[in-house]
């Protein structure tokens, strides 16, 4: 009786710096970063991501960032949409409420990583989750830290926590 329906799960990766990190990071930070990555998890026909406004969702590729720079196939999940929604709702009330956003420690990629693990048991590529520590390990990153700490990356989407 294993009629497991499975839903594909994809990870959309965006370079928020639009290529500038690749060009300038070596000079600015002293190390080469190919991009400043923002990610969203696409499942059940929607893209989910975490930003300054909390967990948001929109049509895949529907944020202001446009089409993703790359897409990673995370496999598939059996988790149906209703359970997933429950899950996200609990997350948004606890570990991923909008005030928990921190651009270095608890950002969109942290969220994507957790959600991807929940859905598929796999983690997202490490170059993405390693990015904050890469940046912070440079002196310039340290200098910028207080500044960036106050920022939140928030591509406009349909906020699932907002009025719909």
């Amino acid at each position: 009786m294993e009629q497991s329906v499975s839903y594909p799960v994809k990870l959309y990766i965006y370079d928020i710096s639009r290529g500038m990190a690749r060009q300038l990071s070596l000079q600015m930070l002293g190390k080469q970063l190919d991009g400043i990555w923002h990610t969203g998890v696409v499942v059940h026909g929607q893209e989910f991501f975490f930003g300054g406004a909390g967990i948001s969702s929109c049509a895949p590729g529907g944020t202001v960032l446009g089409q993703p720079d790359s897409v990673v196939d995370m496999g598939s999940t059996e988790v149906p949409e209703d359970i997933f929604t429950e899950y996200l709702t609990s997350l948004s009330e606890s570990t991923y409420s909008s005030d928990k956003y921190n651009v270095f420690e608890h950002n969109c990629n942290t969220f994507s990583s957790d959600v991807a693990h929940f859905l598929t048991g796999r983690k997202i590529p490490s170059y993405i989750t390693d990015l904050p520590s890469e940046v912070l390990s440079t002196p310039f990153g340290q200098v910028l830290r207080p500044l960036l700490d106050s920022m939140a990356i928030n591509p406009v989407g349909n906020n699932r926590n907002g009025p719909q």
């Binding site: 497991s4 639009r18 209703d82 009330e93 909008s98 910028l144």
Partner: protein
């Protein structure tokens, strides 16, 4: 049925399990969105048994439990080993709430989210203070937020943050309100070293406060207030107060107590009343109008206009369109553009070139970046934004105070950590600071910024220069300035020392050189980009255009000044100059 583990660890240390099976006990972490627990269970237990344990631990009904592992939902009939669940692994749990899909809970989340968004955005600008002391001072612009990286180059998101409102004051008030409602934020802002820097400068504070028209009115009516402002001790104290909300409360309490004591003195009540009507009331109403109910907020943050959601002041890794000058102004975007424009190698602003854009350096550095371009594009597409920004009265007063106080401006700039790593930029900027400040005062400059077509034209010029650079590198050397050091852009044209406006410390020399460059550039353009980078002619435009001026005079254009400007703008082309003059006459 013997408990498989958790209940009596004493019994089942190792693999001695009574009959059930040879199951070893494994510890599996069960993780919900909200928390996680470690559950010990037999390795070959079934999912049902596992759920039993879980329902006890999490106090939920077994029916409500949904277990997920490796993307699969664990059904009751399965066993843990079937799914490969071993010791130390994590299984996800979702507890279904009574009403499915948790719409109820999402609404509560919804209400918290907007306030969060508000406060988080307000706090971002707070730190964003590096770029805007004022804004953080006055009211952490909600807008200022952060979307630094995201919004990068995308002003559309600004609208989402309320920037869409055409009324700047409204925006500012909103911010104020946000600030007031969250005392945390105020202290955060105050902690920011840049703000502190600014606040510790009583002169500046006084200037700012005086620049506020309401305050001015107030002061006229009540000279005591101006005395108060002029008393540095008091100013400092007030600033300390603003910085430290606890202290402020103390103060207020003391004041209240003192006031109530006054009441008991014969005639004291009347005096109090008088005091209130004369001083406090107008002050409060002025304050309220402008800032919200807290009069101290006026002191704490009159300055800059509420900012805009700044996009970023992050200049380095991602070039900051708003540049440093905006650090003092809360206005991010527009100021930034001009900031970088001027930083890229300012030339003396003239009528035809109100922004003092040095065309030679346009092709360089910052301007070259795609981000910059997209920003410019956005600016040109969104004139409303610029207008909003520029029309804020605070912007002007801010600019004025900055202009009068270049020391402060440079101080502010230097504090900007973005500059810290780049002494050349600092130098460059310092040299151009006065020019930049002046040009911000120039209403023409401002109108150019708000004119999308003008911005577009500027962009085109820049693009043209870029192409020129690649196509005819030989043409550029004499025109190129140092640009932004370290930028890979443009093929690294060597700065020509004598003509490099960025390096010389003295502004006088700089101005002349810049002006000459400008002239040459314009001439070149006018002349269709003819040969070589024209060499400096030390003649002033007047002399050069002498013949043309005479001709214009003869034709009846008496206004020598206007003629000269027109000629400069058109590079000596009489017909074009005439058209210019005719075009501007109806004004």
């Amino acid at each position: 049925m013997a408990e498989q583990g958790a209940a009596d660890p004493g019994n089942n240390n190792n693999n001695n399990k009574p009959e059930e099976s040879e199951g070893t006990i494994i510890k599996v972490t069960v993780k919900t969105p909200k928390d996680k627990e470690e559950i010990a269970i037999a390795e070959d237990a079934s999912v049902t048994q596992f759920k039993e344990e879980i329902s006890k631990r999490f106090k939920a009904k077994q029916d409500q439990l949904v277990l997920i592992f490796a993307g699969k939902i664990l059904k009751d009939g399965d066993s843990l080993s079937q799914h490969g669940i071993k010791d130390g692994l994590t299984v996800h749990l979702v507890i279904k709430t009574a009403h499915k899909a948790g719409d109820g809970s999402s609404t509560s989340a919804a209400s918290s989210a907007p306030t969060q968004a508000g406060s988080s955005s307000t706090s971002s600008p707070a730190t964003n203070t590096t770029s805007t002391t004022g804004s953080s001072g006055s009211a952490p612009p909600t807008t200022q937020t952060p979307n630094i990286l995201t919004g990068f180059g995308d002003l559309a998101s600004l609208a989402g943050l309320g920037m869409g409102s055409a009324n700047f004051m409204e925006l500012q008030q909103q911010m104020q309100r946000q600030l007031m409602s969250n005392p945390e934020m105020l202290s955060q802002i105050m902690e920011n070293p840049l703000v502190q820097n600014m606040m510790s400068n009583p002169d500046l504070m006084r200037q700012m406060i005086m620049a506020n028209p309401q305050m001015q009115q107030l002061m006229e009516r009540n000279p005591e207030i101006s005395h108060m402002l002029n008393n540095p001790e008091l100013m400092r104290q007030t600033m300390e107060l603003a910085r430290n909300p606890a202290m402020m409360q103390e103060m207020m309490r003391n004041q209240d107590r003192a006031l109530s004591n006054l009441e008991s003195i014969p005639g004291g009540y009347n005096a109090l009343r008088r005091m209130y009507t004369d001083i406090q009331e107008p002050m409060f109403s002025a304050a309220r109008e402008q800032f919200g109910s807290n009069p101290f907020s006026a002191l704490g943050g009159s300055s800059e206009s509420g900012a805009q959601p700044s996009r970023t002041e992050n200049r380095e890794p991602l070039p900051n369109p708003w540049g440093p000058p905006n650090s003092s102004t809360s206005t991010e975007s527009g100021g930034g553009t001009t900031g970088s424009t001027s930083t890229a190698g300012a030339t003396n602003p003239s009528v035809s070139n109100p922004l003092g854009v040095n065309p030679g350096s346009l092709g360089n550095g910052m301007f070259n970046s795609p981000g910059m371009q997209s920003l410019l594009q956005q600016i040109s597409e969104n004139p409303q934004l610029m207008q909003n920004m520029l029309s804020a009265p605070y912007m002007r007063s801010m600019m004025q105070s900055l202009a009068q106080n270049p020391e402060l401006a440079s101080q502010v700039m230097m504090n900007n950590p973005l500059f810290a790593g780049n002494p050349q930029l600092q130098e460059q900027f310092r040299a151009q600071l006065p020019i930049f400040l002046q040009q911000m005062q120039n209403p023409e400059a401002l109108s150019v910024m708000t004119n999308p077509r003008a911005m577009q034209a500027l962009m085109q010029i820049q693009q043209g220069l870029q192409t020129l650079q690649t196509e005819a590198p030989g043409l550029m050397p004499s025109l190129m300035t140092g640009g932004a050091p370290g930028m890979p852009a443009g093929g690294g044209v060597p700065p020509v020392p004598p003509e490099n406006p960025a390096s010389p410390p003295t502004n006088a020399g700089t101005n002349a050189a810049q002006q000459q460059l400008m002239q040459q550039m314009l001439q070149m353009f006018a002349g269709g980009g003819g040969g070589g980078g024209g060499i400096a002619t030390t003649q002033t435009p007047e002399i050069r255009f002498q013949t043309q001026l005479d001709q214009l005079n003869a034709m009846g254009f008496i206004n020598r000044e206007a003629n000269l400007q027109a000629l400069i703008a058109t590079g000596g082309d009489i017909n074009a100059a005439i058209e210019r003059l005719l075009g501007s006459q109806p004004s």
